[in-house]
Symmetry: C2
Subunit: 395 residues, 2 copies
């Protein structure tokens, strides 16, 4: 090939999850690898009705181009929901619709990152955020993290000694990949610390509404008095991914910049899909659907945690998430997750090795398990095979 | 605001079209400013039926995440259509679905452009392509262009004397903004010339299927034996924009790179929207709908050209497009289009001044007129007011 690609292309590589998913599409595989919602609870019958209603009531508007910012009534509903659920104060003007929240990650990279700028993130962090930001050629520093969130002393030390930190990326609720949730105290100290340095923060919250137990905690954005925190969310986990509707929430001058970026990137998000979610919320029971989904995931989390507690050999630890789709397993240091995956695939069990979730790599004994997309008996069977495979690694 | 944006943000500014469209949303304005398809021919009743069928037949698959490349049967249909219509030889594996073809422009900037690289384009060119590429901080060279396309001698001279040309962007069929179509001879000499230099080409063809008269010409991609040409197209103009479905077509190693870019940018395009277009093509008369649409635009083109011929004062020239949505007016040099626009807006007529379509500006006496979204009597009335405003500029 004679054409010459941009330098950034050298750093893009196929995601491990993607390659694994290709293997695991066979029906006999028990896959803990993806991050798919449970399709059995997609509101298929209701969507049929909503599509009909929308075409009858506003077909021509729905099928035309829309404004770049998005459909005003949906922006209002999102502003109201995040206010009510996470104490995030925002008006509709502070919300921009995105084509899924992955687009919000890409746009945030575009908005803040010049080559060589530094992004801080949790250690580990969401791997597709790493991919999104990597296109803008930053350096990553993974901030040490414990069960309560980022370790603030470490964050402060890095901010004090690193000149060009442009963005801090965090997922405080039921984090992907660990399932961990930041404590209230940690959130407060985090915003205090970043405010001292005036660094932009992207708070990603795709899973926050899927809480199995305990109190919802206020978003970090709700504690921000400097306009430093940008929020993003999505309907992919609370409704269905096929709509590709997410959002960004930020101060008006920041939203203005995002709108310019979106104009160049895809003009607008499907008006029809936006209007359908809006109409669904008006005519059907969005909250009831969310309650059913959360209950299903709670049962699956229970099944996976119980199976892990019963079956895992000594030296294996794992998180017990209070919500979301994932939990995180730490193996004894001598066991490499990628080697374990090879043995598991022979037994038709799949997961994602943890290494991909560390932007600078180097952690080989961890793995991510997804429990949202498998029935309980398959979860138990899969964990049993996983435990046997771990035991076999010592022999 | 204490946060620091990336350098690229300095060069992004609100599109003139966008700002004008805000003014022109009042019903009394005769707007030739936008580029909207005629909503009266959107297949609203059929889409209602398609949505129902899809939810009944494959609701859970349609509402789930899809692969990044897109829905295989739709990729096959696109490959077959562009082969049949434009002689573009491609397999489904060489087609990637995008969220509208604007996304294809953004991804192409991301794939090829480092800061300071050079993009060649027609003079004038599509303004949202300029916005998309500008995010990657290239320099633009607008290649002189006449009624038959780029002037090949000029293209050759620029390629011979400019070291870092990474991409040539062209719209050979019913170009936005001019409505002009490249001749067969110009296409052949173009591909010969770029092949000598091994530069990547993006051939954008959103309007090619909307031909009013004359023979369809083969795509430049169909003449490319080096794998240098990447094609992009969309269903926004032949079906409806609200679906947000476009595509890229390129050699497999190039599509692989685009897939990596799309994974980081939005994971996938709405599976439901892809499946609906595919199902529409199976169950309804896509071609028949396209014929009706083309006939409507032909009548509107006729109305606009006839009105311009009758009413325009001496010294005003304009293109007579054989298809597409736009024509291009050149005023006497003493008249500035932006001043004319101010007078026209007082008379409730809107258009886009041509200056925005030149990446380096400097051409002030041109304007773009859109005829797809206005009935014939309003077109005649709007042109009459435009002609009167031009006459008034001399007094």
């Amino acid at each position: 090939m004679r054409m010459t690609f941009a330098k950034r292309i050298d750093s893009l590589r196929a995601s491990d999850i993607r390659e694994i998913l290709k293997i695991t599409q066979r029906a006999e595989v028990i896959s803990f690898a993806g991050g798919l919602p449970a399709p059995e609870l997609f509101p298929v019958a209701e969507m049929k009705e909503i599509s009909r209603l929308l075409m009858e009531e506003s077909g021509r508007v729905a099928l035309q181009y829309s404004t770049t910012e998005g459909y005003e009534p949906l922006r209002q509903k999102i502003a109201a929901r995040i206010g009510c659920k996470f104490h995030t104060q925002a008006s509709a003007e502070e919300v921009m619709i995105t084509s899924g929240s992955q687009q919000a990650l890409d746009f945030t990279g575009k908005l803040f990152l010049d080559t060589g700028d530094v992004v801080l993130c949790e250690s580990p962090t969401y791997l597709a955020a790493i991919s999104a930001f990597r296109a803008y050629q930053p350096e990553f520093i993974a901030v040490p993290t414990d069960d309560d969130g980022m370790i603030i002393e470490e964050l402060g030390r890095i901010l004090a000694t690193t000149g060009n930190v442009k963005l801090v990326y965090v997922i405080p609720d039921f984090q992907n990949p660990t399932g961990r949730t930041w404590s209230l105290d940690r959130r407060r100290r985090f915003i205090e610390t970043v405010s001292r340095y005036g660094v932009a923060v992207l708070e990603d919250n795709p899973y926050g509404e899927l809480r199995f137990e305990g109190e919802i905690l206020p978003s970090i954005k709700s504690m921000d008095y400097e306009g430093l925190v940008i929020g993003t969310g999505t309907f992919s986990k609370t409704f269905c991914p096929g709509m590709r509707i997410g959002w960004l929430v930020a101060a008006p001058p920041v939203i203005e910049k995002y709108v310019l970026i979106k104009q160049g990137a895809d003009l607008c998000t499907s008006m029809r899909n936006q209007m359908e979610i809006d109409l669904f919320m008006d005519r059907f029971d969005f909250e009831g659907n969310l309650v059913r989904l959360t209950e299903l995931y709670r049962q699956r989390r229970n099944a996976m945690v119980a199976a892990l507690e019963t079956m895992m050999p000594a030296g294996v630890s794992f998180t017990r998430p209070q919500g979301g789709l994932f939990l995180w397993v730490t193996l004894p240091e001598r066991i490499k997750a990628i080697e374990l995956l090879k043995r598991c695939l022979e037994q038709n069990v799949a997961f994602v090795p943890g290494d991909s979730f560390f932007p600078n790599g180097g952690v080989e004994n961890t793995l991510r398990l997804n429990y949202s997309n498998m029935p309980e008996d398959r979860i138990r069977e899969g964990v049993a095979r996983l435990a046997a495979a771990i035991r076999s690694m010592d022999s």
